[in-house]
């Protein structure tokens, strides 16, 4: 070792002086906005008089949400037959919608947890809204399995609570794992979202003019004072919650995929399901984030805090996860062919060319072909086009769950029990209504809570560096 050390000292220097390359980082906040500008911008959204567009959208969303609740009431009073569920397809739109909405939530958790651990600072502009999206999407998702049990007043039997029959949940069932996974996911996401919001609620409290605003935001802000002793614990807790949410991003949709993969239905019983579901979830979730954030950015003129760099990054994540999903579709076909299992082979040929081929090709064109447009900078810079592509991705991902759920059940082992499933009008209205329910919650969030994280935006602005002069 000593010899090696000596020889390294004798070696002549290649450069006289090391000059680090100037690689400017993309600016996260444009136009050198001040701290006060950030506070004003975000608090202003909550403080301004309720805009007319908000009132109109809120009424429309409430009206659409009523479809879900009327549909659910009709289902409870009549029976699950109103959902078009009959042998052989017992998992129709209800499970499709459940997986669709849970999947959407995953982008919020990815942004708040994994991108936080990876120090992706661009996440700060979108994380609050994306986390809200997660929570509301999980609420929409939860409705479907809850009512799918048929007698919803017995749904509490799924929880480990003693009941009069003296029996307990069966923990070998993936459906029971799902209860734990989704309820943990909802709880942890809500805690994380609320905790991250406390300093910003304090900022709104400090600007409040009327006593009820002061009272409302004081209560929510818990007496936050922004002392560094508080920040120190807060930042540690934030980091730990990010660390705890990271396995949740991967586990929740993994467990959702177990609902399918643990059964032995052809087309479901595959080991690729967990990673393929997780990639699909993030893919659909980012599409939803862009679907929501692009209009909000235009309405509230958030161009300085959500700039082209943010949109580019999100488009690239959609491109990457969309390609993974496309690769997974191909792998499924290959494995089916390679397995030598006649039922498995048939399941996939049937998906592409059977009675649901129309749904399969909608899925492939929306999920595999459309996101490839994001390779082009021109496309990523055309925000109307980005928005439309994201809608296609949302549609495609809904069809992916439809194809998986329905094709495998409609044509399984016994041709004598094959069938063709179609949703009823109740199914369609109940699902359509969840978009209203989601919008009601999201509009309330925009109106009453800080849409962007004020404190975190200040951290990423250049003047926050204590060593800058």
């Amino acid at each position: 070792m000593a010899h090696a050390h000596d020889s390294s000292q004798e070696r002549p220097a290649i450069l006289d002086k090391v000059r680090p390359a100037e690689l400017p980082r993309a600016k996260l906040i444009l136009n050198d906005r001040s701290f006060h500008w950030i506070t004003d911008k975000v608090c202003g959204i909550v403080e301004e008089p309720t805009p007319t567009w908000w009132k109109v959208l809120f009424c429309a969303a409430l009206f659409i949400a009523s479809f879900t609740f009327i549909g659910m009431a009709y289902l409870v009073s009549t029976g699950t037959g109103t959902w078009g569920l009959r042998s052989p397809v017992g998992w129709g739109w209800a499970i499709v919608n459940f997986v669709f909405w849970v999947g959407i939530g995953h982008a919020g958790t990815l942004i708040s947890a994994i991108l936080c651990l990876l120090r992706q600072k661009w996440r700060t502009s979108i994380n609050r809204a994306a986390e809200a999206m997660t929570i509301f999407a999980v609420m929409c998702a939860g409705l479907f399995p809850l009512f799918h049990v048929g007698r919803v007043w017995f749904a509490w039997w799924l929880f480990p609570i003693p009941n009069q029959n003296g029996i307990w949940p069966q923990f070998r069932s993936p459906l029971e794992w799902d209860v734990f996974a989704v309820s943990t996911y909802f709880t942890v996401s809500t805690l994380f979202w609320y905790m991250g919001m406390i300093p910003d609620l304090g900022a709104i409290r400090d600007r409040a003019k009327t006593w009820w605003r002061k009272a409302f935001y004081s209560l929510l802000a818990m007496g936050w004072r922004g002392g560094n002793r508080q920040w120190s614990n807060f930042e540690m807790a934030y980091l730990l919650l990010a660390g705890l949410s990271t396995p949740l991003v991967l586990s929740v949709h993994t467990i959702v995929s177990f609902d399918f993969a643990v059964s032995n239905v052809p087309g479901w019983h595959t080991t690729i399901f967990p990673p393929y579901f997780v990639a699909g979830a993030i893919f659909s979730g980012f599409a939803m984030v862009l679907t929501l954030m692009l209009p909000l950015r235009a309405i509230y003129r958030l161009h300085d805090v959500i700039n082209q760099y943010h949109i580019d990054n999100m488009c690239k994540i959609i491109l990457a996860t969309g390609s993974m999903v496309g690769y997974a579709y191909a792998t499924e076909f290959f494995i089916a062919a390679y397995s030598g299992n006649a039922y498995e082979k048939f399941a996939f040929i049937n998906r592409a060319f059977g009675q649901y081929a129309w749904a399969y090709w909608i899925m492939v064109s929306c999920n595999v072909i459309t996101p490839q447009l994001f390779w082009f900078k021109k496309v990523r810079e055309n925000h109307s086009l980005v928005w439309i592509i994201c809608l296609f991705v949302n549609v495609g991902m809904w069809f992916e769950r439809f194809v998986i759920t329905v094709t495998s059940l409609a044509n399984d082992y016994l041709p004598s029990s094959w069938g063709y499933y179609s949703p009823t009008i109740v199914d369609i209205f109940t699902f359509f209504g969840t978009f209203g329910f989601f919008s009601v919650l999201f509009l309330l969030f925009i109106r009453f809570l800080p849409l962007l994280p004020i404190a975190e935006l200040k951290i990423v602005s250049p003047q926050a560096d204590p060593h800058a002069h």
């Binding site: 506070t39 923990f171 942890v188 400090d206 404190a455 975190e456």
Partner: protein, 180 residues
Amino acid sequence: MNERNERIHGVACTFRRPSDVFHAAERVRDAGWKCWDVHTPFPIHGMDQAMGLPRSPVPRLTLLGGVTGFLTGCLLTWYMNSYDYPLIVGGKPYWSVIFPFPVLYECTILFAAFGTFFGQFIFNRLPHHHHPLFDLPQFSRVSDDAFMIVLEARDPNFHLDESRNFLLSLGGQEITVIRD
């Protein structure tokens, strides 16, 4: 400490830039203060070291929560499927760590998150809705773009006039006495 300090919470001053408050905090730390704080609109990078704060104790409660969660999950699944109402499924053992693993995993995360979330509130002593600082008019700017150092009266170093002059020497503005 003298008698008139009894009704005084401390003295506060404001700074306009993160770098100013950062260097002022280093000097307060070096002067040996223990009961003081720096109030900022956002966490300033490196301020924990500048204030000489120890590492946050929140992770202890996270670990406690995680271990509790895992054991709760084990107890729950063992008691329900193996002890109170044994279920035979596929001739497998009544209980093992393998089959309910998703449940144990989720319980671990859930309880660790509770530990972290409530740990933050416990160690920050929140909720705390009545605090003398809320009566200061300039405190409302601390969540916007002002930076504030507060020297508390319970610190042995505290003497009203000396502490005010000390804050003045640090470059603080709007030096104010906070009354309880």
